[in-house]
Symmetry: C2
Subunit: 339 residues, 2 copies
């Protein structure tokens, strides 16, 4: 019933709390005999240290915080999987918070984690995040911070991401190489760097291949209902630009919304319109036609970001300076039926 403390063990054996503590941590200045007795009664009383007290004393919580836009997302759930896996391996626990794409929540959650005295923070910024005082606060407190996926160049901390521009460039170049000329882009929200990068990659690929960029072929997805965004934009696209021959979408979910519209309206994929997605969700190999897309190493991103964070935490503990890294993970085009 009652949780046993060092004091209980000390009382049981008639020795001091200090000795018990040292015995359990195998200090050299405690007799072998008493060490054994302490170990025995500790086991007998089912002792396990109160982490709260340990944390208060050592000023470490062996806990990291994660703030992401949402957990209900194949990409993020795989990242989380990687984070938890890596953290657990090194003995750290993970607190997860969702910003739900809201800046004020993101700020609030940063404060929660700081108050909780987490040893480090992992973040993927919300689509609405356009100021960064809350991130600077973390850095000024000397708490390691690693940004992944949705990052921000102006903040000097480690980052793990993909080269969105290059990946988009490659995808659109592939469409062009297959003879497509009227290439639409269903782009993401205007604020986050990744959707701007992908948009830039799209534009640059067009221009490098002698196709003039046509703004009327670009459609915005910002309702946070990716699937319906894709569906509705596909409908608009077909009415406004019937001669379109392909689409490059910001994400697979948008692509799948478009595919659904095309399937329902007897528009053949890829013959009438080719579709190129982004992320390589599990679903993209299941949908019909299967979706050509860009593979994003989600699990690896979680693992690598956590590795870097834990390294920085260790360096921090020893008061060593740490250089911030920016890791660019490789992407890969996955060719399937939709192109």
């Amino acid at each position: 019933m009652k949780v046993t403390t060092l004091k209980d063990i000390a009382n049981e054996l008639g020795i001091s709390v200090a000795t018990v503590s040292k015995a359990l941590k195998d200090y050299p200045d405690v007799n072998k005999g008493t060490k054994e007795k302490v170990l025995q009664t500790a086991r007998k009383l089912n002792y396990s240290p109160n982490q709260l007290a340990v944390n208060l004393r050592t000023k470490q919580t062996k806990t990291i915080g994660v703030i992401i836009p949402t957990t209900v997302h194949h990409f993020f759930s795989k990242v989380i999987d990687g984070i938890i896996e890596e953290a657990e391996k090194k003995g750290y626990l993970v607190i997860i918070l969702q910003s739900s794409e809201k800046l004020f929540l993101e700020k609030l959650q940063v404060n929660l984690l700081l108050d909780k005295r987490v040893d480090g923070i992992l973040m993927s910024l919300s689509n609405k995040t356009n100021e960064f005082v809350h991130l600077k606060k973390v850095l000024s407190r000397n708490i390691p911070l690693v940004l992944f996926d949705k990052t921000e160049p102006s903040i000097s901390c480690s980052k793990v991401r993909i080269d969105d521009k290059k990946a988009a460039y490659e995808a659109v170049s592939y469409l062009i190489s297959k003879g497509h000329k009227k290439i639409s882009h269903f782009r993401g929200d205007l604020n986050p760097k990744i959707s701007n990068d992908r948009f830039e990659g799209y534009k640059e690929a067009l221009e490098d291949h002698g196709i003039t960029y046509d703004p009327s072929l670009v459609y915005l997805c910002n309702n946070n209902t990716d699937f319906e965004d894709g569906y509705n934009n596909a409908k608009k696209l077909i009415h406004e630009n019937p001669e379109v021959d392909s689409i490059f979408t910001i994400t697979d979910l948008v692509a799948i919304g478009a595919i659904k519209y095309f399937n329902e309206n007897n528009i053949k994929i890829p013959d009438d319109v080719a579709v190129f997605g982004f992320s390589n969700w599990f679903m993209s190999s299941v949908v019909s036609p299967t979706l050509t897309t860009v593979h994003q190493p989600a699990h690896q991103m979680g693992v690598v970001a956590t590795e870097i964070l834990l390294d920085e935490i260790e360096l921090n503990k020893e008061n060593k300076p740490c250089l911030h890294k920016e890791i660019i993970l490789p992407t890969k085009l996955i060719f399937r039926e939709s192109c």
Copy 2:
């Protein structure tokens, strides 16, 4: 840089730590003037209480632990979404751990959470969990525990789940009402209650409608690669029982694996074989043909389980006894093209 403590505020104003603490918590026995001064300097020095110290003193962490088999799963990610949402609303943080369907990890993680002094624990048991000492340990420590989805009758704590047997019964009865007679079942792992319940529902529905249960029509999915399990079992099924006219699967993912096999081999759904899934994943409305399935209220399950847990934590704090509830959330058949 340095984090401010109560002491800093006290020194700044030349008063005691005790008064500062009481001023910040609006105790009646502190002068209005000093209250204001304390509030001002607290704001000026950007004070926020060290939760570690607060927790140690108050013996509450305002943190709950969650142990689930995996996060990379549409169902669980929606449950997590509900949990985090509800917890955050009430000012609680959430630590998430994955058992990866391994009993020894589940046990270890329970201990981690107990050491961390979480205020309560939310669990969905792994498929391999067939002993429960670790759960009893939680209860004996008087820490509220709520099981959801994968629960265990022999443990006396609150539970939130669906009526798996009834849902399966309804699904299979629907197949029968549509004239199907050779109904296969792709069942889940042998251990967990939910897959046995669904199996029982399947069997009972057959028997109640005068169809004799045929064990050779039941296939096991236990490779934890649901999708491929479905694909491979579909292949075996067609070779061993070519006259089959429908399948009821343990989960949508299995169903989608089967659908993929049927699509590839020109077996028409639902004309040759009808497919009935379970869970109503997002994907099931996207796949072709769209999947008839059982809707499971995942988000709600997370919210309700958390509500109950937090209620029990409150009661616990006041040393009031609490009755354990068992909530059965309603399911719903979703009719689409595959049946």
